[in-house]
Amino acid sequence: MAEPPLRPRRRFRQPSVIPGFGITFGYTLTCLGIIVLLPLAALVARASGLGLWGIWEVATDPRVASALRVSFGVSLLAALTASVFGFLIAWVLTRYRFPGRKIVDAVVDLPFALPTAVAGIALASLYAPNGLVGEQLAKLGIEAAYTPVGIYIAMVFIGLPFAVRTVQPLIEEIDKEIEEASATLGADRWHTLIKVVVPPLIPAVLTGFALAFARGVGEYGSIIFIAGNLPYVSEIAPLLIVIKLSEFDYGGACAIATIMLGISFVTLLAINLIQAWSRRRFGYV
């Protein structure tokens, strides 16, 4: 008698030779819950005390709206800049051999390690109208410190390592023969770069962009020293939260935080989706 066919059943757990799915999955969920989701839930719970209308009122408050615009707008711009320059730095560090390469490579990580206040003070003293760079910029009529330009500079500074470190390993892996193949087929350097070398790196560039953006949105310490913090001009949302807290307006602070959380989540999700699409598009099947 024929055996009944094995009916493919949709199962939560796929058969696998790798043991320990249950315990690792449970452990992961528990940690994620306690470390990440619980505080965020507490935040949202606190904010929800205001009600949807209350949150909407906070969000549409001109000062809050302007701070959110500055935070997210400048972060996007800074992340874009960091991605471009980060790519170039990673390219130079991996493709060329020059004296001091290891030192430059180590310097890239400094913004990771530096206390943000130190970075803020350093940037502020450099870009202030009487600072080394600020003076030159002032001659050109550009005010860097105490304007959104200052925020932008600080955000590029702290976002750069993310952009470098995400693309660097992929540039290292580029196969020399791919470029040689392109050359033997008659393509010039520019064509090779645009059509052959860069496309496979795009998913990594997007990852770097997302990380730099997220870091920029959340940054506080290094920005407040250089931003000048003028309401409606150069005030960032995290600073506004701190101000609300010092005024004991916990509900308002949580409301702004919740709004930031929402926008950040949607933005990062969108970047991840673009990245997933580009991975498929560029052959990471």
């Binding site: 196969d175 193949a181 392109s182 033997t184 087929l185 059509k195 052959v196």
Partner: protein
């Protein structure tokens, strides 16, 4: 590392560069392609000096051992790459490119694969795509660097025959690098044997096999048995016994005699050129290969027809029926 060498490739021929690893064959191929640069010397295509022509303008097709396909492009995009990379004025129309890609896919027998990506194909299929990509630009010379090196034995054999077919059909001048003598002898019109950066010999597969110019070429083209011998006039003696092998004029005194495994014959001990004991034997494809421990200490492999078996440990004599004589 290459030393002075001169290699004349005929239009339309399939030339194999054969040599052990480190013999400079890949370097030579890359110099012809313009991917590496010689310290001196010239590369001439037809009547044009190509030495200073950059690789992009040299019009060579290069196929790499590990395919070097563009992973983020479909098969059709890979093949069309060289045409699409041309300057607008020289670029064929879209429809023309599509037609050419279709023709090439037919040629490599992968017609249904235009929209696949390289990661979805097997090694043999990828190498065929790489070949089509190189042919698409209608190169003056097609250069293949160990094209079947990364493939398993069966696929290698199929692709060899298939490459020969393609060559016969297109008449494309082709140079390919290999360290596999079977591959070179089966596939090529002429074989150039390289060793330690020097060109040892160039000729048809028959010429290099029948008249190897040096022991290096001889040894590289197959298994050999090496025997000390004495040359006197044109006569060559081994252990005092005359052999049928003739020494080339001018070669006298102690020499080396080389024989292929099938150029030896078993004989009664005491009446042969060499003496020894059977160590082991195995049969393969209607022949048997017998390992003999020679009395002098060396082990040699003898090939004989698969008629009678020789028991291990049995003392045997070996007669030399043919061979080659060199100074070293």
């Amino acid at each position: 590392m290459l030393h002075d060498l001169s290699l004349d490739v005929r239009a339309g021929e399939l030339l194999a560069l054969l040599g052990p690893s480190g013999s400079g064959k890949t370097t030579l191929l890359r110099i012809i392609a313009g991917l590496d640069f010689p310290d001196r010397g010239r590369i001439i295509f037809g009547s044009d000096d190509a030495t200073r022509v950059p690789v992009q303008e040299r019009a060579v097709g290069f196929v790499f051992q590990h395919y070097a396909l563009f992973k983020h492009m479909s098969v059709a995009e890979n093949i069309a790459y060289g045409l699409n990379a041309r300057k607008r004025a020289d670029r064929p129309a879209k429809a023309e490119i599509k037609r050419r890609v279709g023709d090439l896919l037919d040629l490599i027998k992968l017609s249904g694969f235009a929209d696949r990506y390289p990661s979805q194909l097997s090694g043999g299929q990828r190498q065929r795509i790489a070949l089509a990509r190189a042919l698409a630009v209608e190169p003056r010379v097609l250069l293949l660097d160990e094209p079947f090196g990364a493939l398993d034995a069966q696929v290698r054999k199929d692709l060899r025959r298939w490459l020969r077919e393609i060559h016969d059909r297109t008449g494309q001048t082709t140079i390919f690098v290999t360290h596999d003598q079977d591959e070179a002898l089966e596939l090529s019109d002429r074989v150039a044997v390289l060793s330690k950066g020097r060109l040892e010999q160039i000729g048809t597969p028959d010429e290099v096999q029948e008249n190897p110019v040096s022991s290096t070429v001889l040894k590289f083209l197959g298994d050999t048995i090496e025997v000390e011998a004495i040359a006197q006039g044109s006569e060559v003696r081994v252990n005092g016994r005359l052999t049928p092998v003739k020494a080339p004029p001018g070669l006298v005194g102690p020499v080396k005699l080389y024989a292929r495994p099938w150029q030896l014959q078993f004989a009664e001990p005491g009446q042969a050129h060499l003496e020894g004991h059977v160590r082991s034997s195995y049969r393969s494809q209607g022949r048997q290969r017998i390992e003999v421990d020679r009395s002098e200490g060396k082990t040699v492999v003898v090939e004989a027809s698969d008629t009678h078996r020789l028991a291990a440990g049995r003392p045997v004599g070996l007669t030399i029926n043919a061979g080659y004589v060199f100074k070293d």
